[in-house]
């Protein structure tokens, strides 16, 4: 890279960034107020207290961003940057210490415990790194699980499943059990489970983390495909490859949204390069001590 830090003096982090990043938008999402976004995250803060209360760890210090309908956003960051905490809070599995999350204009933070599950079922779909499929159910029943929980009739469920299974290419293994199929197939079943409720937003947590390269590619293609059909996706990932399939990448560092990259008209390869560069800067910038 053209940036060569002088050894005798720590170079200000922002200076480096400005050298690398051409698009030069700072993390300023959440400012667009004229048009209501699908998901808005405002001043999100999360502090973990250890059990005896002696130690406090700030996982998220001040997170602001928003996701528009039809977007495909990846959130990147190192381990410990607060990605998982952010996702858990977005999934309303965890509560923030302060701040606000609006999904479709409705706050998910203040929602009542009783309505929470129904709300999540209706609005959110989840894809996990380790699939989270139940061994006690066939793939079909795993996919049906959220619908059954919502009290849907069997005939309707069948009607909903057919096109999704076909699209994801798992229609021929519906009666199999999770331990009988490959990782890629499991993840596609998990995606089907996320899609079947037609959620407003799909939250994916390291969806390629447990997949081989071929399955990874297939899954990312799938994400792009369903995104092109209008599905909003928010993905948290380590993988540059996975992130480069997104339309926008947010970088989190030390509990804040630090930077973002828009794909615009970039190809996957360019996107990949750009993300790599940013990550390098993020990494070296943090260790700038000599």
């Amino acid at each position: 890279m053209e940036c060569k830090p002088k050894l005798w003096q720590p170079i200000p982090f922002f200076y480096i960034l400005s050298l690398v990043i051409t698009n030069n938008e700072k993390a300023d999402a959440g400012v667009m107020e004229e048009n209501m976004s699908l998901l808005e995250v405002k001043n999100l803060k999360k502090i973990y207290t250890t059990r005896l209360g002696s130690n406090q760890v700030q996982a998220l210090s001040n997170v602001n961003f928003s996701v528009e309908e039809g977007e495909y956003v990846a959130i990147m960051g190192e381990s410990g940057s607060g990605k998982t905490t952010l996702l858990n809070i977005l999934a309303s599995l965890d509560k923030p210490t302060s701040g606000e999350i609006l999904l479709n204009g409705k706050s998910t933070v203040t929602i009542k415990e009783k309505e929470l599950s129904a709300f999540r079922r209706a609005n959110l779909g989840f894809v996990f790194q380790d699939f989270n499929l139940l061994d006690t159910f066939s793939l079909k029943d795993n996919i049906f699980l959220p619908l059954v929980l919502a009290g849907m009739k069997y005939e309707e469920m069948e009607k909903k499943l057919a096109p999704i299974a076909l699209k994801l290419g798992i229609d021929d293994i519906m009666t199999k059990y999770p331990y009988e199929v490959s990782g890629g197939q499991k993840q596609r079943a998990a995606v089907a489970r996320a899609l079947i409720t037609t959620p407003k937003l799909i939250l994916a947590d390291e969806p390629t983390g447990a997949l081989d390269s071929k399955s990874t590619e297939q899954l990312l293609e799938l994400f792009t495909k369903i995104n092109n059909e209008g599905q909003t996706i928010l993905m948290v990932t380590h993988s540059v490859k996975a992130a480069s399939s997104a339309k926008r990448v947010l970088f989190i560092k030390d509990g804040e949204v630090f930077h973002q990259i828009y794909r615009a008209s970039m190809k996957d390869e360019e996107m990949y390069q750009k993300i790599s560069n940013t990550l390098t800067v993020l990494a070296t910038g943090g260790e700038q001590v000599e």
Binding site: A91, L93, D94, E113, K114, L116, S117, A118, R120, R121, L124, F126, F128, N132, L133, L134, D135, T136, F137, D141, F144, L145, P146, V148, L149, A150, G151, K153, Y154, M157, Y177, P178, Y179, R193, T197
Partner: protein
């Protein structure tokens, strides 16, 4: 290195046990309890004071059986719990292996663990056993109504036997664990607890077999007529029902659940979806556990209720069989020696200065008769009650003696008889037949009530009928006509019963020597019973029964408790992951709780309901068997069964609530974060 390793392994072993206290402490407690119970039983059997008790041989025999059952039980049960423990710890051991501990090091660690558990269990168990064995012995003496305070006794042979037995059990479990670890790869160990198990297959044949076995066993239990057949059929029925229970729990449950799943309308409902699939999945591993609980509970209940009923009904039994203090039974011989006997007995009474009360005497003959279409037929063909169909025991008496005993004034003609029977059946004729003659009596009337003197326990075992002929001569002529060779197979008996004004020791003395100076021609046999010795025999036997019943009952109950506990724990760990996933997918906290509750309740009620059915069905056959042992009071047995059932339900319920709590704790461990 060697200096470090000396204390390293014991320390590691100790910390392992403490770390796994959730599963190890109940195990150690069970071991201690098992050792204690076993030692106490053995110590009582080997107690030097045992021989002072009347009927000690009977009691020793019973204790020996109980000890044998306890040995078998301890081996199976401790082995079973150990295999559960090692399964739970696979992951931890795999981790040690991967972190660089060789298998022999792990072996060493496990040796120390076993050593610690063994030493603690044996020393604590023996100490408690020695402490409480005296108490236990006093309890036994109380039960058998033997009121002598005996000294403190620690039989060394029992201590050694207990040490050897349980030491051997620990060694065998250790060897089993070592072999298990030796032949497994570290990666297998690491994933040991969480292998995605395949869905169980439907086993139609096994289900049908189970249904068949239970049905067959139930049929035996429900249709058995005579107490003697009940005795012989009981064990077959028990085996059938045990086999059937295991088959139904393992295969039948899965078949039913799969059937439920096939019904799409039913299955795809929030309420049923997760529970049916969850039950289906877990039945494979837990069916045996549930069947164990069911069988053990049934055993506990049957043993406790029947021994309790026997003990509680003992006084009635004694009174029925021994209506008077002293009872004599003499065969009068070919030439009626009644007068000489009366004279000799009166002489003996006078000589000993005994005053008698309620003196009664009567003659009788006991013969087996074939009973068909209301006709009693004596056939002199060597048939007995045991080898021919429709055989009934008949007691023949003369009318004058019957009238005297019962204060009645029936009259009969030469060819007429009266039949006494508890059953209300139509009777027509009584026929005596031999090689060259046949005599027919008409049955004039049937009565169903007699004085207590005549209703012995004998009639409980067989269908017994008393046939009253018009006088002694007829009785004698019947006896001579059924005579074979020189001696009668069915001699005339002369029964004398009376109360005496003697205390226990003197009464026993008197009755045992009453025939000493008697020497009457033709009298072939004479026996004397007294109520005091009889009572000792009864108390020794039924008190012993109750003692052993309670001992085995407690042992089995302990096993039931531990199985329930371990089941809850292991299911908790398995279900934890499942419920986390369900919550991630959108199941609410309260829905998860509801599902957990319904599963817990099914697991709770299934074995106890099946136990209830088993008990209800077994009631009849056990009642018949208890008749053999002299218990005829059905109401008492019902009360004891219900009492035992209620007590059991309370214990079961308490245990279940406690273990269900630890289950909830495990399942919801991280969900409240």
């Amino acid at each position: 290195m060697s200096k470090l390793s000396k204390s390293f392994y014991p320390k590691l072993a100790l910390s392992n046990i403490i770390k796994n206290k959730k599963v190890y402490f109940p195990y150690i407690l069970t071991c201690i309890f098992n050792v204690m119970m076993f030692y106490m039983m053995s110590a009582i059997k080997n107690n030097s004071n045992m021989s002072k008790i009347n009927g000690a041989e009977n009691l020793k025999f019973l204790l020996e059986i109980a000890l044998f059952v306890a040995v078998i039980f301890s081996v199976i049960f401790l082995f079973y719990t150990n295999s559960f423990l090692i399964k739970r710890r696979k992951k931890e051991i795999g981790l040690y292996n991967i972190l660089g501990m060789e298998k022999r090091h792990i072996g060493k660690m496990m040796l120390y663990e076993t050593l610690m558990i063994g030493v603690v269990s044996l020393s604590a168990g023996l100490a408690l056993g020695i402490l409480f064995s005296k108490l236990m012995f006093l309890f036994l003496l109380k039960l058998i109504d033997f009121d002598v305070v005996l000294g403190f006794d620690v039989p060394i042979s029992s201590v050694i036997f207990t040490l050897i037995l349980f030491g051997a059990i620990f060694v065998v479990t250790l060897l089993y664990n070592l072999v298990k670890i030796r032949f497994s790869k570290p990666i297998e160990l690491l994933h040991g607890g969480e292998v995605g198990e395949k869905e169980p297959k439907t086993k139609i044949i096994l289900t049908i077999l189970g249904l068949g076995c239970i049905g067959w066993g139930y049929w035996f239990a429900l249709t058995v007529q005579s107490p003697l057949t009940a005795m012989s059929l009981f064990f077959i029925a028990v085996i059938l029902v045990v086999v059937g229970t295991y088959a139904l729990f393992t295969a039948g449950s899965i078949a039913v659940l799969k059937l439920l799943r096939k019904n799409k309308k039913f299955y795809y409902q929030t309420k049923h979806f997760t529970s049916v699939s969850g039950m289906l999945y877990r039945m494979k591993q837990n069916a045996v556990g549930l069947a164990n609980i069911c069988i053990l509970s049934t055993m506990v209940l049957i043993i406790c209720s029947s021994t309790l009923a026997l003990y509680a009904g003992m006084k009635d039994s004694i009174k029925q069989e021994y209506p008077n203090d002293i009872g004599l039974d003499i065969e009068t011989g070919f030439d009626d020696a009644t007068d000489e006997i009366n004279a000799a007995v009166n002489n003996a009474i006078k000589q000993n200065g005994v005053e008698t009360k309620n003196y009664t005497a009567f003659h009788y003959i006991s013969i087996p008769c074939q009973f068909e279409n209301g006709k009693f037929k004596f056939l002199d063909k060597g048939v007995t009650l045991y080898n021919a169909k429709n055989m009934k025991a008949c007691t023949l008496m003369s009318l004058d003696e019957f009238n005297r005993l019962n204060g009645t004034d029936y009259t009969l003609k030469d060819n007429e008889v009266i039949v006494y029977s508890k059953k209300k059946i139509a009777f027509s004729e009584f026929i005596i037949e031999n090689a060259n003659d046949s005599k027919t009596f008409n049955i004039k009337e049937t009565i169903n009530k007699v004085s207590s003197i005549q209703s012995g326990s004998y009639e409980n075992i067989f269908d017994n009928y008393t046939i009253i002929v018009n006088d002694m001569n007829t009785l004698k002529s019947i006896d001579s006509s059924i005579l074979s060779d020189e001696q009668s197979e069915f001699p005339i008996h002369y029964a004398i019963k009376f109360d005496v004004n003697l205390d226990k020791a003197k009464c026993i003395e008197f009755s045992n020597h009453i025939f000493d100076d008697m020497n009457i021609d033709g009298v072939t046999s004479a026996s004397a019973d007294n109520i005091y010795e009889a009572r000792e025999v009864y108390y020794g036997m039924y008190g012993g029964f109750l003692f052993i019943g309670l001992f085995l009952g407690i042992l089995f109950l302990m096993a039931t408790v531990l199985i329930i506990y371990y089941k809850q724990i292991s299911e908790g760990y398995e279900d934890k992951a499942r419920f986390e996933i369900m919550q991630n997918v959108g199941m609410s906290h309260s829905e998860v709780k509801k599902t957990i509750r319904s599963q817990v309740i099914i697991v709770f009620f299934l074995p106890i309901i099946v136990t209830g059915i088993h008990i209800a069905v077994s009631f009849r056959i056990i009642k018949k068997m208890l008749m053999l042992l002299g218990l005829t009071n059905t109401g008492l047995f019902i009360a004891c069964t219900i009492g035992a059932m209620l007590a059991f339900c309370v214990v079961y319920g308490v245990v279940f609530i406690i273990t269900a709590k630890s289950y909830y704790k495990i399942v919801s461990a991280s969900q409240n974060a």
